[in-house]
């Protein structure tokens, strides 16, 4: 030992167990911050990748500018890629919609068009055709394709290659022809549109760059638009919704930082308090107040050196688990994330918060410890230690002595109570606030519904209907899982008890009734499936005050029919575009009411690729919409966010629970001598457990009440900002989540008491009573 500060490491060697609790506490706080910040960072990366995949890697679009302006913009230092993307007016080829675009190869690449075979068009007479187009039109690379444009001009192109599938094309049974840049300029201006797409270099202030471009080239606001989603994820959006999201994120991360701060501060405070006597002894032996402060700061640094790397590593391990899960459930649509990577913002936040809070937390107990008089230490009387400096006696009239003492322990030191209950409260608040992200995610990225089809068959025109026999034929195909059709009757004048409206009557068959039964809120599916009743959406029932048994009259072809509301479901797979009522009935009821027997749409869920076989069954006036890639992309997009949102919640819950266990442990450790004395004078093990339980319950209940109040307040604030303002959903107090969270906190508290109580029973009484 070179100086008195060497005692810090010597003390740590001897009191490994005591130090471990503080180190664990700092480590889990750092882990929380590292994991949450790291996951947020990765989530942003994943969302950015997803936004680029969906909408392309561009930042700004400028319309109606001459070539010279486009060249000048392209020559700016901050522009990475720019070029014109041309789009021709709607064109068909062999009866199918053909989307014709033109751009440079580089811009096409940024718009996610990747040439899978052949080469990108280099001349005006070359074109790329999508893979399914080649297959369906029976063409090969090198063949000629003749296109009749909307103005009647005919052009021939040699197919130079093909490119990967786009869900937007498959989902509409359309195909795409890609030409070289400027390949549409032969058309009259009314027959095509050209937009200048710009991708800026990394680090560019895009809003400022756009302003500069606007001023320099005298452009109007209408000529410039931005990729709101991508800019939002890059933190560069000025959009009000995005600014609200930023504010929410900032407050949530402030809460995370506060949780870490409270946890470390309370643990550190306890560790210092229990050693008041030790510091008094140092004072007695000649240490100055300043030296005591230095000692505690050095100790804090030592804790940091041990705890922060553990916290950073465990936070990173959580991040790696999240990345592993994301990669495991990710299909080919998102770029795979490198597994073992460190998140710089996560590591930085964890380190800064760890060091900063330990230093901050050590300054206050350091002052208190320095105040301990040398006499306090040498009298050796535990009554004099600061930790047990009780100002009021326990209330043994209202409670049993064990409970009363536990409560007195909890409430005697206001600072400890604020820090411990505060850390419980912030954890609860944090959990409640983060649950809003699930609602946000479910609104922003609709999860795939169980009834989402892989393939849909529709008529090319509204009057075309699909016979029942087609459905039966598809059902016979091997690899078919579920086939279900819907008949529609639109523009029906309808009346309910309050007034009139237009209605759309829709038929369900068995698979759809099965799904409906899973979302049934009230009523009975049976009366609809096998009777004359109808199903309505919960939203309408709320809006029009419909109840089970209400009558809705439908005026179909001049005849008035009465239908009875027999079921209310939370979800129907159709949106009413003009506010009309969507009314669902069985096929028999539908035909009886309308006389219609044929479907408007047949949908298929399949285990294997049966698109080709279905194409052979349908007539040219029908189209087959292939939704598989779209579904997969929806799933991927949803998972990319869900992994992190649920990851946040799991980490917060885990950390909150570890914090409770650690706090109870630390609190007991700090009073271990005290409990020894109580045992010596006749307190039984069960009673000691009651004392600890009462103390822990006081923290948990106070923390839960404070957490519930602040949590509900902030939950409402965030909900209204993020959800109500965007989707209109009204805030409701999340009582169920709150009940679960509080129950978990209290249950954990009670479980946390068991181990320390057993530890006390095993501790020798003799050492305690004689040591004083």
């Amino acid at each position: 030992m070179k100086g008195y500060l060497g005692l810090v490491s010597e003390y740590a060697k001897v009191h490994k167990k005591k130090n471990r609790l503080t180190i664990i506490c700092i480590a889990i706080s750092v882990m929380l911050v590292t994991a949450i910040f790291g996951m947020a960072d990765m989530s942003l990366k994943a969302q950015k990748d997803e936004a680029i995949r969906r909408y392309g890697n561009w930042h700004t679009i400028i319309s109606n500018i001459p070539l010279e302006t486009a060249d000048a913009i392209s020559n700016r230092k901050d522009v990475s890629v720019s070029g014109f993307l041309g789009m021709a007016s709607s064109t068909t080829y062999q009866g199918k919609e053909l989307i014709i675009q033109s751009s440079s190869e580089e811009l096409a690449k940024q718009m996610n068009l990747s040439v899978t075979q052949g080469h990108y068009p280099v001349s005006e007479t070359e074109a790329l055709l999508d893979r399914q187009g080649l297959e369906q039109f029976g063409l090969s690379i090198g063949d000629m394709i003749e296109i009749v444009y909307s103005d009647g001009q005919t052009r021939q192109y040699q197919i130079s290659g093909t490119y990967g599938d786009f869900s937007s094309l498959q989902g509409t049974d359309a195909h795409g022809l890609q030409l070289a840049e400027g390949g549409l300029r032969f058309l009259p201006e009314t027959e095509y549109q050209e937009y200048n797409y710009i991708q800026f270099k990394n680090g560019t202030n895009i809003n400022r760059a756009n302003e500069e471009i606007k001023t320099e080239f005298s452009l109007t606001d209408e000529q410039i638009s931005t990729n709101v989603m991508l800019l939002g994820l890059m933190g560069q959006s000025k959009d009000t919704t995005m600014l609200e999201v930023y504010l929410t994120a900032a407050i949530l991360f402030l809460l995370v930082a506060m949780t870490g701060t409270f946890m470390i501060a309370s643990s550190f405070n306890m560790s210092i308090l229990e050693r008041t006597q030790f510091f008094g002894l140092l004072r007695c032996l000649g240490a100055t107040k300043r030296q005591i402060k230095r000692y505690i700061r050095r100790e804090g640094l030592l804790y940091c050196l041990k705890a922060i790397p553990v916290g950073l590593l465990s936070g990173s391990v959580i991040l790696w688990i999240a990345i592993y899960v994301l990669n495991a459930i990710n299909s080919q649509y998102l770029p795979e994330m490198p597994q073992f990577q460190f998140s710089f913002p996560g590591i930085l936040a964890g380190t800064v918060i760890g060091v900063f809070v330990v230093m901050l937390a050590s300054s206050s107990p350091a002052k208190n410890a320095a105040k301990v008089s040398p006499q306090t230490a040498v009298t050796g009387n535990i009554n004099q230690t600061a930790h047990q400096n009780f100002k009021k006696a326990s209330n043994t009239k209202a409670f049993h002595v064990d409970t009363a003492m536990g409560l007195r322990h909890a409430f005697s030191n206001r600072k400890s109570m604020v820090l411990i209950a505060g850390s419980f409260a912030i954890s609860i608040t944090l959990f409640l606030c983060f649950t809003i992200l699930i609602t946000f995610m479910n609104h922003a990225l609709s999860p795939l519904k169980p009834y989402a089809p892989d393939l849909s068959i529709e008529g090319n025109a509204p009057h075309i209907s699909l016979p029942h026999s087609l459905k039966e034929e598809i059902e016979q195909l091997p690899g078919t899982d579920k086939v279900y059709g819907r008949m529609f009757c639109t523009d029906i004048p309808a009346n309910d008890k309050k007034g009139s409206n237009m209605a759309t009557l829709v038929s369900y068959d068995d698979p759809q009734f099965l799904w409906a039964s899973n979302v049934l809120i009230s009523g009975d599916i049976e009366n609809v499936q096998n009777g004359n009743g109808v199903l309505v959406d919960y939203g309408y029932s709320q809006e029009f005050n419909w109840e089970i048994g209400d009558i809705i009259t439908l005026d179909i072809n001049g005849t008035t029919h009465e239908t009875t509301v027999s079921g209310i479901v939370s979800d129907v797979p159709l949106d009413s575009s003009n506010g009309e009522w969507i009314i669902v009935c069985s096929e028999n009821t539908f035909t009886a009411l309308t006389g219609i027997t044929d479907y408007k749409i047949i949908e298929v869920q399949a285990n294997t690729d049966i698109a080709g076989q279905i194409r052979n069954l349908i007539t040219p006036d029908m189209k087959l919409l292939d939704m598989r890639q779209h579904n997969e992309e929806v799933r991927t997009g949803y998972f990319a966010m869900a992994v992190f949102v649920y990851g946040f919640l799991i980490v917060i819950a885990l950390v909150a629970l570890i914090n409770i266990i650690n706090t109870v442990n630390a609190s007991v450790s700090s009073r271990i001598n005290h409990y020894g004395v109580m045992r010596a004078v006749g307190m039984s093990g069960k009673q000691i457990q009651k004392v600890i339980r009462a103390e822990a319950a006081a923290y948990a209940i106070t923390g839960s009440i404070a957490g519930a109040i602040s949590g509900l307040f902030l939950h409402r604030f965030f909900f209204e900002m993020l959800i109500t303002s965007n989707w209109g959903q009204k805030w409701e107090p999340p009582f169920l989540v709150l009940a679960v969270v509080i129950s978990a906190a209290i249950l954990t508290t009670f479980i946390a008491v068991i181990a320390p109580s057993q530890k006390i029973r095993k501790t020798s009484i003799v050492n305690v009573v004689n040591a004083g």
């Binding site: 050796g380 009387n381 535990i382 009554n383 004099q384 047990q388 400096n389 009780f390 100002k391 009021k392 006696a393 326990s394 043994t396 049993h400 002595v401 064990d402 003492m405 007195r408 322990h409 005697s412 005290h674 004395v677 109580m678 045992r679 010596a680 004078v681 006749g682 307190m683 039984s684 093990g685 069960k686 009673q687 029973r761 020798s764 009484i765 003799v766 009573v769 004689n770 040591a771 004083g772």
Partner: protein, 227 residues
């Protein structure tokens, strides 16, 4: 009949070459109402002996009977209850409960039994110990002598048959020491209690019914003072 019987108690700390024999084949018995002083050098094994009698510690071998009951065969919970009802402890370091006031500290063993104290007896103890005016004070508001008197009150409240006192005057000045010893002796006579007290104070030891000397873990019974 003897209230306390100590049979062949051995207590060894550590093992092998570092083993320390704190008590070696200790045998003695104490009759009801006796006042025993235990004397000996520091580290001779006095406190270890007292801890064994009070069942705060377990011997390596041997048996202790209190009122015919073999204490070390009792389960932990049973032993705790037996201890708080039948043995009163007075420690050198007082070991009062800081969050309880004087009255609560004195009645603590009863409160642990969820029993209401006999108010007349409580008043009597407070009067005898001269603590009436301090009954609602917390330990930190009392002097050392007052704290030790509270500890004595706590040891008396259950009317235990045995009081074990480990240097109860060790932290007190002469006047307070004399007061405390007088109180203890009076109380034990009044309530027919047996007292075993460790002391370094020769004059206190001289007032005992019997003196036991502990030296290197071996006990020697000097019998009644003056014998």
């Amino acid at each position: 009949m003897n209230l306390l019987e100590v049979n062949s108690i051995y207590k060894t700390y550590g093992a092998g070459e570092t083993a320390v024999n704190a008590l070696k084949d200790v045998n003695f018995s104490v009759a009801k109402g006796e006042f025993i002083a235990v004397v000996g050098e520091s580290g001779s094994g006095k406190s270890t002996l007292l801890n064994m009698i009070g069942a705060l510690d377990t011997p390596t071998s041997g048996k202790v009977f209190i009122d015919g009951k073999e204490t070390f065969t009792l389960e932990d919970e049973e032993l705790t209850i037996f201890r708080r009802r039948n043995i009163g402890f007075i420690f050198q370091a007082f070991n009062l409960i800081p969050e309880l006031n004087v009255e609560q500290n004195i009645t603590f063993p009863l409160l642990l039994d969820y029993k209401k104290p006999d108010l007349a007896y409580l008043e009597e103890i407070l009067t005898v110990l001269n603590l009436q005016e301090r009954r609602y004070h917390l330990p930190r508001q009392l002097s050392g002598g007052q704290q030790q008197r509270v500890a004595i009150g706590r040891a008396l409240i259950t009317r235990p048959m045995l009081i074990l006192a480990d240097e109860p005057t060790g932290n007190l000045d002469t006047q307070n020491s004399n007061e405390v010893i007088a109180l203890l002796k009076n109380a034990s006579k009044r309530y027919e209690q047996t007292i075993i007290m460790i002391t370094h104070n020769r004059s206190i030891a001289s007032t005992a019914d019997r003196v036991l000397q502990v030296s290197d873990g071996i006990i020697t019974d000097f019998g009644r003072c003056g014998e």
